[in-house]
Each structure stands twice: as C-alpha cells, then as structure tokens.
C-alpha cells in the first residue's frame, strides 16, 4: 500500500475509533453506573439503549453554540478544537498490535506526553476565555493539578524507560513478549516495587484525565461545571468526547508500558484482541472508581502528589537504577 494512502486510511481509522469510543464509552459508563446504583440505565433508544449516544449527539448538534458576550470569542471557540487534537495525535503513535499502528516513531513515548500536555492548555484556555469565575477557578485547578501529577507520572515513566532502554512504544511492547511474568508490571528482578509503580502511574493517570476522585476541574458540587460551565451544545460535547478519548489514550499507554500490549498473558496467540481486552478492563476500572468514591479536596490532592507520590516514585527510580547497576 502506498504510504500517503496508508496514512489516510489510518487517519480515518483513528478518528472513527476515537469517535466510536467516545460515544460508546458514554453508554458503557452510564450502563455501568446504573448497575452500580441498582437502576437499569438507558433503555429507551434502541435495544438496551444502544442508540442513546447517537440521540445525544444529534441533540447536541442541533443546539445553538452560545458565546457569552464578555467572553474572548476566538479563544472560546478555539478551545474545543484544541482539546480534541492531542488525543488523536497520541493515537497515531500507539501500536495496537504487531502490524496495526499508524506510525512507529522512535521517540513515541516522549511524543505522547508532549501531546498530552496540550490537553491541559485547552482546558485552561476554555476556563480563561469563558470569563466565568467558576471556570477560572477550575482552570487554575487544572493547571496546578496537572503540573503536580506530571512529575510522579514522568518519574514512573523514567523508571520504565530504564528497564526497557527504548522510547519506541513498539520496542517497549516487544520487550515484554512471552507470558505475563515478562510484563513490566511483574518485572520484579529489576524493581521489586513494580506493582506500586503501576498503581502510582494509574493514580496519576486518573488525575491527569480529571477523573473522579480527582475530578477537581469539573467538581459539579463546587464549581457547577468547571471550565465547561459556559459551553453549550456540541462545543460542550467535544469536551465530553475529549475526556473519553483521553481515557482511551491513558489506558492504552498503561497497557503498553506495563501490561505487555498485545501479548497474551499465557504466551499464545498475541494480537489485537488481547490489547483491546486489557484496554477495556482498565477503562472499566476507571469507571468503577468514579462511581464508588467521593471526591477529595483540592489541597489534599496536591498534598498526595507532592508528599506521597513523588517521594515514592523517586524512591522506586533510585531503587531501579541501583538494582540495574548491581545485577
């Protein structure tokens, strides 16, 4: 297949994948939440409410895009466009299986984190441009939360990098081939605290994705809808979709870095199916956590990062380097 054509197919594929995931993760989340809360969830539109996301999308598209008179028009309209882009770009470098993956960039891991930070910028712009006090408080929270959690996240990633010795995501996955004890998660020879590292990574992911119990940006009982308060119709819908797209990217990254990507846990038949299975299992955990725990306070969230997560991840980093030098 000629290269430009291949890239075009991948672009379409990734956009479809993100769109489908964003729409149907909403359905999954609503259904799962309903089950946690002893109610049926969406049932009316389509069988088991399966067409509900479609109905919601049509409703949101048919709504007027309101811009508050005092808002910064350009930035206000720009923010929804910016928020969606990084998730799509991240997916371009993520390998889904041995043969599936748009681009294998040698610096793939660095690229994902570089793009991931743009998401924060978009939320900040959205909050700032709305000229709403709740939005601005939310924007300030998003920035300090993401700065605080980027550090332990990157410390953990450096630990993984030291173990794998490469920033290419494909090579990281290839390094974990074989049964599940080859996964980075269970690479206890190099770092006996690897499961702890994974938990820190997952907590940081939740914070970076602004998911409960760390959903400070849109803490609805405090900040109404946070940075999205002034957004109506599909411009709100885009933020909503971006949240789910980021969950997909984050969980896919966790799968690649720690859970052996597309490799089967028993060493047989590696493939896309295993990747998706691990991905959706992690996404389910994200949903599960949201509907189980109350929200923390904002200052406690920062304390958790600076006083607990950063020291621990620093320690695992040092431990890993010492272990690698010794053995």
């Amino acid at each position: 297949m000629p290269e430009p054509f291949r890239l075009l197919v991948y672009l379409g594929g990734i956009m479809a994948f993100v769109g489908l995931n964003a729409a149907y993760l909403v359905w999954v989340e609503r259904k799962a939440a309903a089950r946690f809360q002893r109610r049926p969830g969406p049932t009316e539109v389509g069988p088991a409410g399966l067409l509900q996301p479609l109905a919601d999308a049509i409703k949101l598209l048919s709504k007027q895009v309101l811009v508050p008179p005092e808002a910064d028009r350009l930035l206000f309209r720009l923010a929804p466009a910016v928020v969606m882009a990084p998730a799509l770009m991240c997916l371009a470098v993520l390998p889904f299986s041995e043969r599936l993956g748009a681009r294998d960039v040698p610096l793939g891991l660095v690229l994902v984190f570089a793009f991931g930070s743009i998401h924060v910028l978009a939320l900040m712009v959205a909050g700032w441009a709305s000229r709403n006090k709740y939005s601005i408080i939310s924007a300030a929270r998003v920035v300090s939360q993401n700065v605080a959690y980027e550090i332990p996240l990157l410390l953990v990633v450096i630990t993984v990098l030291m173990m794998t010795g490469t920033t290419s995501l494909r090579e990281i996955v290839d390094g974990q081939a074989g049964a599940f004890w080859h996964w980075n998660l269970f690479n206890l020879k190099v770092n006996p605290l690897m499961p702890v590292t994974f938990v820190i990574f997952f907590i940081c992911l939740l914070a970076e994705m602004n998911r409960a119990p760390f959903d400070m940006a849109e803490a609805e009982s405090e900040l109404v809808a946070g940075a999205f308060t002034e957004y109506a119709g599909m411009s709100f819908g885009v933020f909503f979709m971006a949240e789910y797209a980021n969950i997909v990217v984050g969980c896919a990254l966790a799968t690649i870095l720690f859970l052996g990507g597309w490799h089967s846990p028993v060493g047989l038949l590696p493939g896309l199916g295993w990747f998706l299975l691990k991905l959706y299992a992690l996404i389910f955990v994200v949903v599960w956590v949201r509907w189980t725990f109350p929200r923390t306070q904002f200052y406690r969230l920062l304390n958790l990062s600076w006083k607990i997560l950063i020291p621990i991840s620093m320690f695992t980093l040092v431990l890993t380097s010492v272990m690698m030098k010794l053995f």
């Binding site: 809360q37 803490a219 609805e220 904002f298």
Partner: protein
C-alpha cells in the same frame, strides 16, 4: 457572574485581591434556591453572606388570615422533608391551647410516623450530603430505602411527601395491619442496610479525610446562633427537644440522645447515622406497645382558641421546630410564629466558614442539612 463587573476594587488587609462569588441561587450544591455571597481570596472564603428569600411564601402571614384547619396543610410544606414533625407541632399547639385530650393510640401512631419521617429525612440528607462530596452512588441507595417509607406513609394518608396526616385531636386515618406489618418488615430490612452504609461510606478513607477536623462548630457557636438538632449534638451538647421539653409519649420511650463531641463535619455525620439506628429502636418499641382504642378525640367543628399565647416545640429532623400561636379568641389566629431549625443553622454558616476553602465550606453546608423552604418559609 461576569468577572470584571463584580470585582471589588479595593484590596484586603494583607494586599489580598478579593472577588465576589455568587454561590446560587442556581447552584448544584445549595439544593434549592439559597444564595450565598462569598467574598473570596483565591479559593479561600473571607466572608460568606447568606441571602435567603428566593422561595419566601409568607407562611406566617398566611397563618394570620386562615382558620386553624385551613392553615394545617401549610405546615407540611415548610420543611417538606420532615412534614410529620411540622404538622405535629402545629396540631400540638392548637391542642394545648384548646385543652384537647388526645387519645393514647393517636400519640403512639404520631410518634411512629414521626420517626419514620425522621428516617426518610435523614436518608435524603445522607444521599445529598454524599452528592455534595462528589459521591453519586449513595444517593440512589438512600432513595431506594426511603421509597419504602414513602410507600408505607402513602398507604396511610395518600401523600408521599407533604403529609397532612395529623388532625386536631387525632389522625386522618387509623393505622391498619398492612401498615404495621410493613413497618416491621422495614425495620428488619433497614438494620443491615445501616451496616452496609457503614462499610461502604462511613469507613471510606476519602470520606473520613474529607470530613474529620473540617468545619468545627463548637457548643458556644451553636448557643450564639440558636443552632439545634444534629448540629448541636455534633458539638457535644445533649440537647434534644424530645427530652428537654418532653411532648407526646417520648418520656415513656427508651432511646438515647446521640452525642458526638468532635464538633467537626464527621461528628454531625455520625450523629445522623446513629439517629437512624435510634429511630428504628423507637419504632420497634411503639409497635410492640401500640394500644387499641379510638384515634380521634371529640373536637368542635369550628376551633376557637381562648385568648392567649401558646408554644409547642418538636424535635424535627433538623432540630427544634416551634410553633407559637397568639390568639385573640377569634377563629383566626392573631399571630403564628414559626421557629425553624434550618434558619438558625444557616445563621452560623458565615462564622463557621470564615477562612475556609470552597470545597470544605460546601461540606459544612451539606453537614448543616439545610432545607431552603424551611429557611424562607
């Protein structure tokens, strides 16, 4: 809502840049149309000014223009979550002034339904409070349990929320076997549920971290502002109208006044959770001792109270609710004064939240269990 237009130009004492944040009247955390004007420095609250009045319906004035029987349904709409207690206070005041002797069975049924209503009210608070703290799931669990109480009371008097079940000298309707069996089944069902809530919610580490040591309201502050109910009992003061100013058959019943001395949000939370347990105990005692007999005393068709001043206080779900009726001998009262607990509990909000951060202040507001129509009446 616009940043520039409401910004205060002056700076605070230490060069703080202050701004005014309108919390409400349309805000998810105020559970109604309460508006609180917050003067903030960043996320710190410098001054909180509650602005009530958005749902004022002139209940007291309406009381001066209606006969006692006509005003009776109003009382259940003041605090729609503890309608039984409010009706009880008004009915009790009229009975006390007119010297009506209430049959014993009626008193037992009143206590029974009041305590059911208290459980329903505390369950709503439990769900709404957790919702304020960002946990959505307990709300649905609590409403599921509350639904059973509402079904029971609906079977008694037809209403699900604004019961007008008590009448002067009696009740609208006698309780039937179906209700008594249903209540027994509910008590048996509810005890394990409370245990479930303890495991699921009370012992949750995030919840404990959010509530312990947050928002201290001490006994002195409660006295200054007249706070009652779970708020004062969470400050370590064993004040309960059921014991302090005994009414109905409460002196004969065996129950504890739940007191937690820590004064923080967790203490108020635990007071209410323990009160659920106590109310279940009261219901069991009443069911065991329910006497037979008439449920309605002989009451004149047109009630005219002798000239004078009568008070009747009850322990509503949120604290002391008192009705004061001043009569000049006509069939319409001269003055009806309603002393509502939420109003007094809200009054201390400003002092309790000074210097606090926004999420903690909202936890305090949730722990006060405010019902906005009860503040405004």
């Amino acid at each position: 809502m616009l940043l520039e237009k409401t910004q205060i130009a002056e700076t605070g004492p230490e060069g703080q840049e202050m701004f005014v944040l309108n919390l409400g009247p349309q805000h998810p955390a105020t559970h109604g149309v309460l508006r609180v004007k917050l003067t903030m420095d960043g996320e710190y609250i410098l001054h909180a000014e509650p602005v009530p009045g958005y749902i004022h319906r002139m209940h007291e004035k309406m009381g001066e223009n209606r006969t006692y029987a006509q005003f009776l349904p109003n009382t259940s709409r003041i605090d729609y979550l503890s309608a039984m207690h409010y009706t009880h206070a008004f009915v009790g005041a009229v009975e006390r002034a007119a010297g009506i002797q209430v049959p014993r069975r009626t008193e037992f049924v009143r206590v029974l339904t009041s305590e059911l209503n208290r459980i329903a009210s505390h369950l709503v608070w439990f769900g709404a409070f957790l919702l304020d703290l960002g946990g959505f799931t307990p709300l649905l669990y609590a409403f599921d349990d509350r639904e059973q109480i509402m079904d029971l009371l609906e079977g008694l008097c037809g209403a699900r929320l604004t019961y007008c079940y008590y009448r002067f000298g009696g009740l609208y309707n006698d309780v039937d076997d179906e209700f008594i069996e249903g209540t027994r089944a509910f008590v048996a069902y509810m005890r394990p549920r409370l245990e479930l809530y303890r495991k699921l919610v009370t012992d949750n580490i995030i919840l404990r971290k959010r509530l312990e040591g947050i928002g201290p309201i001490d006994a002195n502050l409660c006295r200054q502002y007249g706070a009652t109910g779970p708020v004062i009992r969470g400050a370590g003061v064993p004040y309960d109208v059921r014991r302090a100013e005994p009414y109905s058959i409460y002196p004969e019943l065996d129950f504890e006044i739940v007191v937690f001395p820590q004064t923080d949000c967790m203490a108020r939370y635990q007071v209410r959770m323990a009160e659920l347990e106590q109310s279940l105990g009261i219901i069991e005692q009443v069911l065991d001792r329910l006497p037979a007999g008439p449920f309605q005393a002989k009451v004149p068709r047109v009630i005219k109270l002798p000239p004078g001043d009568t008070c009747y206080a009850v322990e509503a779900a949120r604290g002391r609710f008192m009705v004061r009726i001043v009569s000049d001998g006509r069939e319409i009262p001269y003055r009806v004064k309603l002393r509502t607990p939420s109003f007094a509990n809200l009054a201390l909000f400003e002092e309790a939240t000074r210097g606090m951060m926004l999420p903690d202040a909202l936890a305090v507001m949730g722990s006060l269990d405010l019902v906005i129509p009860d503040i405004d009446r």
